[in-house]
Symmetry: C2
Subunit: 102 residues, 2 copies
Protein backbone atom coordinates (compact mmCIF):
# COMPACT_ATOMS: atom_id res chain seq x y z
CA UNK A 1 0.00 0.00 0.00
CA UNK A 2 1.21 3.45 -0.82
CA UNK A 3 2.35 4.89 2.48
CA UNK A 4 0.34 8.09 2.22
CA UNK A 5 -2.90 6.16 1.92
CA UNK A 6 -2.40 4.98 5.48
CA UNK A 7 -2.48 8.58 6.63
CA UNK A 8 -5.80 9.29 5.02
CA UNK A 9 -8.05 9.52 8.03
CA UNK A 10 -11.47 7.91 7.79
CA UNK A 11 -12.83 10.48 10.25
CA UNK A 12 -12.33 13.23 7.66
CA UNK A 13 -13.26 11.35 4.49
CA UNK A 14 -16.63 12.84 3.73
CA UNK A 15 -17.14 16.19 2.10
CA UNK A 16 -19.17 17.33 5.09
CA UNK A 17 -16.35 16.59 7.52
CA UNK A 18 -13.72 18.16 5.27
CA UNK A 19 -15.95 21.23 5.26
CA UNK A 20 -16.57 21.26 9.01
CA UNK A 21 -12.88 20.94 9.82
CA UNK A 22 -11.97 23.59 7.24
CA UNK A 23 -14.31 26.02 8.96
CA UNK A 24 -13.04 25.10 12.42
CA UNK A 25 -9.41 25.55 11.36
CA UNK A 26 -10.17 29.19 10.53
CA UNK A 27 -12.77 30.20 13.08
CA UNK A 28 -11.84 29.71 16.68
CA UNK A 29 -15.40 28.95 17.70
CA UNK A 30 -18.44 28.58 15.55
CA UNK A 31 -22.07 27.71 16.12
CA UNK A 32 -24.43 25.22 14.54
CA UNK A 33 -26.23 27.67 12.28
CA UNK A 34 -23.03 29.12 10.87
CA UNK A 35 -21.80 25.63 9.96
CA UNK A 36 -25.17 24.71 8.56
CA UNK A 37 -25.30 27.77 6.30
CA UNK A 38 -21.69 27.58 5.24
CA UNK A 39 -21.85 23.90 4.36
CA UNK A 40 -25.48 23.68 3.21
CA UNK A 41 -26.22 20.60 5.27
CA UNK A 42 -29.45 19.48 6.88
CA UNK A 43 -29.69 19.63 10.68
CA UNK A 44 -29.61 15.85 11.03
CA UNK A 45 -26.69 15.35 8.71
CA UNK A 46 -24.61 18.12 10.27
CA UNK A 47 -25.41 16.94 13.81
CA UNK A 48 -24.33 13.38 13.02
CA UNK A 49 -21.01 14.50 11.52
CA UNK A 50 -20.36 16.84 14.46
CA UNK A 51 -21.06 14.02 16.89
CA UNK A 52 -18.65 11.69 15.07
CA UNK A 53 -15.90 14.30 15.13
CA UNK A 54 -16.56 14.96 18.81
CA UNK A 55 -16.39 11.23 19.59
CA UNK A 56 -13.07 11.04 17.76
CA UNK A 57 -11.80 13.82 20.03
CA UNK A 58 -11.35 16.21 17.12
CA UNK A 59 -13.76 18.88 18.25
CA UNK A 60 -15.23 20.05 21.50
CA UNK A 61 -18.71 21.26 22.15
CA UNK A 62 -19.61 24.03 24.56
CA UNK A 63 -23.19 24.59 25.62
CA UNK A 64 -24.10 27.87 27.23
CA UNK A 65 -26.83 30.46 27.36
CA UNK A 66 -26.78 33.76 25.55
CA UNK A 67 -29.39 35.63 27.56
CA UNK A 68 -32.13 33.03 27.81
CA UNK A 69 -31.30 31.29 24.55
CA UNK A 70 -29.19 28.15 24.54
CA UNK A 71 -26.14 28.51 22.34
CA UNK A 72 -23.86 25.66 21.35
CA UNK A 73 -20.41 26.34 19.94
CA UNK A 74 -17.94 24.03 18.31
CA UNK A 75 -14.19 24.31 18.39
CA UNK A 76 -11.41 22.11 16.97
CA UNK A 77 -9.23 20.45 19.60
CA UNK A 78 -5.44 20.46 19.28
CA UNK A 79 -5.67 16.76 18.37
CA UNK A 80 -8.23 17.64 15.72
CA UNK A 81 -6.02 20.31 14.20
CA UNK A 82 -3.02 17.99 14.11
CA UNK A 83 -4.99 15.10 12.67
CA UNK A 84 -6.63 17.27 10.03
CA UNK A 85 -3.26 18.69 8.95
CA UNK A 86 -1.87 15.15 8.65
CA UNK A 87 -4.91 14.19 6.58
CA UNK A 88 -4.41 17.15 4.23
CA UNK A 89 -0.72 16.26 3.92
CA UNK A 90 -1.66 12.71 2.91
CA UNK A 91 -4.15 14.01 0.34
CA UNK A 92 -1.51 16.35 -1.01
CA UNK A 93 0.91 13.47 -1.50
CA UNK A 94 -1.80 11.50 -3.28
CA UNK A 95 -2.44 14.46 -5.60
CA UNK A 96 1.27 14.95 -6.32
CA UNK A 97 1.70 11.24 -6.96
CA UNK A 98 -1.17 11.32 -9.45
CA UNK A 99 0.13 14.42 -11.20
CA UNK A 100 3.60 12.91 -11.60
CA UNK A 101 2.07 9.99 -13.43
CA UNK A 102 -0.02 12.02 -15.86
Amino acid sequence: MRAYLENINKAFESRARLGIMSVLMVEDKTDFNNLKETLQLTDGNLASHLRALEEAGYLQVEKQFVGRKPNTTYQATDAGREAFKAHLDALERLILDNRQNE
Copy 2:
Protein backbone atom coordinates in the same frame (compact mmCIF):
# COMPACT_ATOMS: atom_id res chain seq x y z
CA MET B 1 -20.69 26.79 0.68
CA ARG B 2 -17.15 27.09 -0.50
CA ALA B 3 -17.28 26.40 -4.22
CA TYR B 4 -14.59 23.75 -4.27
CA LEU B 5 -16.53 21.63 -1.79
CA GLU B 6 -19.19 21.14 -4.45
CA ASN B 7 -16.59 19.51 -6.66
CA ILE B 8 -15.60 16.97 -4.07
CA ASN B 9 -17.08 13.82 -5.52
CA LYS B 10 -18.78 11.40 -3.12
CA ALA B 11 -17.86 8.52 -5.40
CA PHE B 12 -14.17 9.04 -4.57
CA GLU B 13 -14.44 9.96 -0.90
CA SER B 14 -13.18 6.84 0.76
CA ARG B 15 -9.54 5.93 1.07
CA ALA B 16 -10.20 2.70 -0.80
CA ARG B 17 -11.65 4.52 -3.81
CA LEU B 18 -8.91 7.14 -3.82
CA GLY B 19 -6.48 4.23 -3.87
CA ILE B 20 -8.30 2.29 -6.61
CA MET B 21 -8.51 5.33 -8.88
CA SER B 22 -4.86 6.24 -8.21
CA VAL B 23 -3.83 2.78 -9.37
CA LEU B 24 -6.11 2.92 -12.43
CA MET B 25 -4.78 6.34 -13.44
CA VAL B 26 -1.29 4.82 -13.73
CA GLU B 27 -1.90 1.30 -14.93
CA ASP B 28 -3.91 0.94 -18.08
CA LYS B 29 -5.48 -2.31 -16.94
CA THR B 30 -5.18 -4.07 -13.66
CA ASP B 31 -6.63 -7.18 -12.09
CA PHE B 32 -8.35 -7.85 -8.80
CA ASN B 33 -5.36 -9.38 -7.04
CA ASN B 34 -3.06 -6.52 -7.95
CA LEU B 35 -5.54 -4.01 -6.52
CA LYS B 36 -6.08 -6.16 -3.45
CA GLU B 37 -2.37 -6.42 -2.70
CA THR B 38 -1.61 -2.80 -3.49
CA LEU B 39 -4.42 -1.44 -1.36
CA GLN B 40 -4.52 -4.12 1.34
CA LEU B 41 -8.27 -4.56 1.16
CA THR B 42 -10.39 -7.63 1.80
CA ASP B 43 -12.06 -9.28 -1.19
CA GLY B 44 -15.53 -8.15 -0.13
CA ASN B 45 -14.53 -4.59 0.56
CA LEU B 46 -12.59 -4.21 -2.69
CA ALA B 47 -15.39 -5.84 -4.72
CA SER B 48 -17.99 -3.48 -3.29
CA HIS B 49 -15.91 -0.37 -4.04
CA LEU B 50 -15.18 -1.61 -7.58
CA ARG B 51 -18.87 -2.22 -8.16
CA ALA B 52 -19.75 1.28 -6.98
CA LEU B 53 -17.16 2.84 -9.29
CA GLU B 54 -18.39 0.70 -12.17
CA GLU B 55 -22.00 1.74 -11.51
CA ALA B 56 -20.90 5.39 -11.54
CA GLY B 57 -19.39 4.76 -14.98
CA TYR B 58 -15.88 5.49 -13.72
CA LEU B 59 -14.35 2.11 -14.48
CA GLN B 60 -15.05 -0.73 -16.83
CA VAL B 61 -14.70 -4.40 -16.15
CA GLU B 62 -13.51 -6.95 -18.67
CA LYS B 63 -13.94 -10.66 -18.04
CA GLN B 64 -11.92 -13.08 -20.10
CA PHE B 65 -10.04 -16.35 -19.82
CA VAL B 66 -6.28 -16.70 -19.56
CA GLY B 67 -5.93 -20.32 -20.64
CA ARG B 68 -8.65 -21.97 -18.57
CA LYS B 69 -8.55 -19.46 -15.74
CA PRO B 70 -11.03 -16.62 -15.59
CA ASN B 71 -9.31 -13.26 -15.41
CA THR B 72 -11.08 -10.00 -14.68
CA THR B 73 -9.43 -6.69 -15.43
CA TYR B 74 -10.38 -3.18 -14.44
CA GLN B 75 -9.74 -0.03 -16.37
CA ALA B 76 -10.65 3.61 -15.75
CA THR B 77 -13.07 5.07 -18.27
CA ASP B 78 -12.48 8.50 -19.79
CA ALA B 79 -15.31 9.80 -17.61
CA GLY B 80 -13.59 8.26 -14.58
CA ARG B 81 -10.29 9.92 -15.39
CA GLU B 82 -11.92 13.31 -15.88
CA ALA B 83 -14.01 13.03 -12.74
CA PHE B 84 -11.07 11.88 -10.64
CA LYS B 85 -8.92 14.76 -11.88
CA ALA B 86 -11.70 17.21 -11.01
CA HIS B 87 -11.95 15.62 -7.55
CA LEU B 88 -8.20 15.98 -6.98
CA ASP B 89 -8.38 19.61 -8.14
CA ALA B 90 -11.12 20.27 -5.59
CA LEU B 91 -9.09 18.62 -2.83
CA GLU B 92 -6.11 20.71 -3.84
CA ARG B 93 -8.10 23.91 -3.52
CA LEU B 94 -9.31 22.79 -0.11
CA ILE B 95 -5.72 22.16 0.98
CA LEU B 96 -4.51 25.51 -0.36
CA ASP B 97 -7.40 27.29 1.32
CA ASN B 98 -6.50 25.66 4.63
CA ARG B 99 -2.81 26.47 4.29
CA GLN B 100 -3.53 30.13 3.55
CA ASN B 101 -5.40 30.39 6.79
CA GLU B 102 -2.74 28.82 8.98
